[in-house]
């Protein structure tokens, strides 16, 4: 029987811990459809009031950057130190800045 059985699709689960916070990835689970994914996510990831909202996303719908290309992909940010406030020297006696 098990050889024929088709595995349910994988969903990635994101939980908003409380109002004011972003949804954060907490893990994944298998479900037959979207509704079941939400129900399973509630049981698996929010047994102790860990969340006020859940997103379930089919894992095959997630687009991800490749770790192999992380250097060229993130290189443009590497040499732009002037984007950080600490790049600018401000005299110590200038207040509120």
């Amino acid at each position: 029987m098990s050889g024929v059985e088709q595995e349910w699709p994988l969903y990635e689960i994101f939980v908003r811990g409380k109002r004011g916070l972003n949804h954060v990835h907490v893990g994944s689970l298998h479900a037959a459809d979207d509704e079941m994914a939400l129900r399973h996510a509630r049981d698996v990831y929010t047994r102790r009031n860990e969340g006020v909202s859940i997103w379930a996303v089919r894992a095959d719908a997630v687009v991800a950057s490749s770790p192999d290309e992380k250097d060229p992909l993130f290189a443009p940010a590497g040499d732009k130190v002037y984007r950080h406030p600490t790049f600018y020297a401000i005299p110590d006696d200038v207040p509120y800045m």
Binding site: V4, W8, L10, G27, S28, L29, D33, R47, P67
Partner: protein, 362 residues
């Protein structure tokens, strides 16, 4: 090894040396991946099989309060198994394959769960000693080098604390009860003490994988170090409970600032690991039965999910390809070809898909 693989190995080793985490899509040595799959799968299986010894007492819990607690704890074990299966799948393992490997005996689970729960005191002892040993094992794993495994361990450790405390509280309630209850607790502790010590695995001299696992940051402490830590934490708790740990050699060593204690029976450990413990056959048979008895539920849910799609596509589909079939239905057809039941459930598609169904049925 190609030049680029050599470069990747250097990157990998540097990440480990920085105590940084390896993440799922990073390159990793095949042996690192295989070691993790084995360890995380074994850990996940332990959580799932671990539901059985305690589940044994749910219907016979002595009060509604104890029943609610025990249900919550057993549900947590299922949850822990799922966190860990999910971590294992990020390494490329398939859930279905992991389940099959468990019920076919090709992957192991902790030998502790092959011991029976003979009295209600065992529910307390498992929480106190077995989950206590698990915590000693798992807290350092929160810093393991593989990201998803470490994150699963953090969630699990938070919840294990409830497990251990409810066990201790259960035992201390019984210890304040009748002589018969106290005797029941002592008898339970006598049975579980040695198997609990075995949970840390064989002595370091007989643990060939430890060195490599520590070099890779998968394990953070050796088996003997963790066993020592567990004994040192447990002795004062036993004293507070008023139970005797069944080891006449257990004494405080002033010089080492640690307890001396006897080794468990490692021959018994080997026997249980090989499959001949008191409950090995029963645990696996039960897991297999649950899996097989659940097959129709999984199939029905799959059919329902596809049926819902079909109903939606019938209402909304307008796009039609050269063959005349609505696009949404073509997607359905491809999916239904994979499972025979969903084809049966949809008579209209049966004729179209029967050849591909045969082709895909081993």
């Amino acid at each position: 090894m190609t030049v680029s693989e050599a470069d990747q190995l250097v990157d990998f080793e540097a990440t480990i040396a920085r105590h940084d985490r390896i993440e799922p899509r990073d390159w990793m040595p095949e042996k690192y991946r295989a070691t993790l799959v084995r360890q995380v799968a074994q850990h996940a299986h332990s959580e799932i099989i671990g539901m059985q010894p305690e589940g044994n007492w749910i219907t016979r819990a002595p009060s509604l309060r104890r029943k609610a607690i025990l249900l919550a704890k057993v549900q947590d074990e299922a949850g822990h198994g799922l966190y860990l299966y999910s971590a294992c799948e990020t390494l490329g393992a398939s859930r279905q394959d992991l389940t099959l490997k468990l019920i076919e005996g090709r992957q192991k689970y902790s030998s502790i769960f092959n011991y029976p729960t003979l009295s209600y005191a065992d529910v307390g002892t498992i929480g106190w000693l077995v989950d206590g040993a698990a915590i000693a094992n798992q807290v350092p794993l929160c810093r393991t080098s593989y990201g998803p495994y470490g994150r699963a361990m953090i969630r699990i450790c938070k919840e294990e604390s409830f497990h251990q405390r409810q066990g201790f509280e259960l035992l201390s309630t019984m210890m304040r009860g009748t002589d018969a209850q106290r005797a029941m607790v002592q008898e339970s502790v006598d049975r579980f003490w040695w198997p609990a010590l075995m949970m840390f695995g064989p002595p370091d001299v007989d643990s060939p994988n430890t060195e490599q696992s520590m070099a890779w940051g998968i394990k953070r402490d050796t088996n003997d170090e963790l066993r020592q830590k567990f004994v040192d934490m447990t002795v004062p708790q036993a004293r507070a409970l008023g139970v005797t740990l069944p080891d006449p050699d257990l004494v405080w060593d002033e010089e080492r600032q640690a307890h001396d204690f006897a080794q468990p029976d490692w021959d018994e450990f080997a026997t249980v690991v090989k499959g001949s413990g008191p409950c090995n056959a029963q645990r696996i048979a039960h897991r297999r039965r649950a899996h097989e008895d659940g097959a129709w539920v999984r199939e029905a849910a799959t059919a329902f999910a596809h049926g819902g799609l079909e109903a939606r596509s019938a209402r909304t589909s307008t796009s039609v390809d050269e063959s005349g079939a609505p696009a949404a239905q073509r997607g359905l057809e491809a999916r239904s070809a994979r499972t025979s039941t969903s084809v049966v459930a949809r008579g209209g598609l049966e004729a179209q898909t029967s050849t591909s169904v045969e082709a895909s049925t081993p």
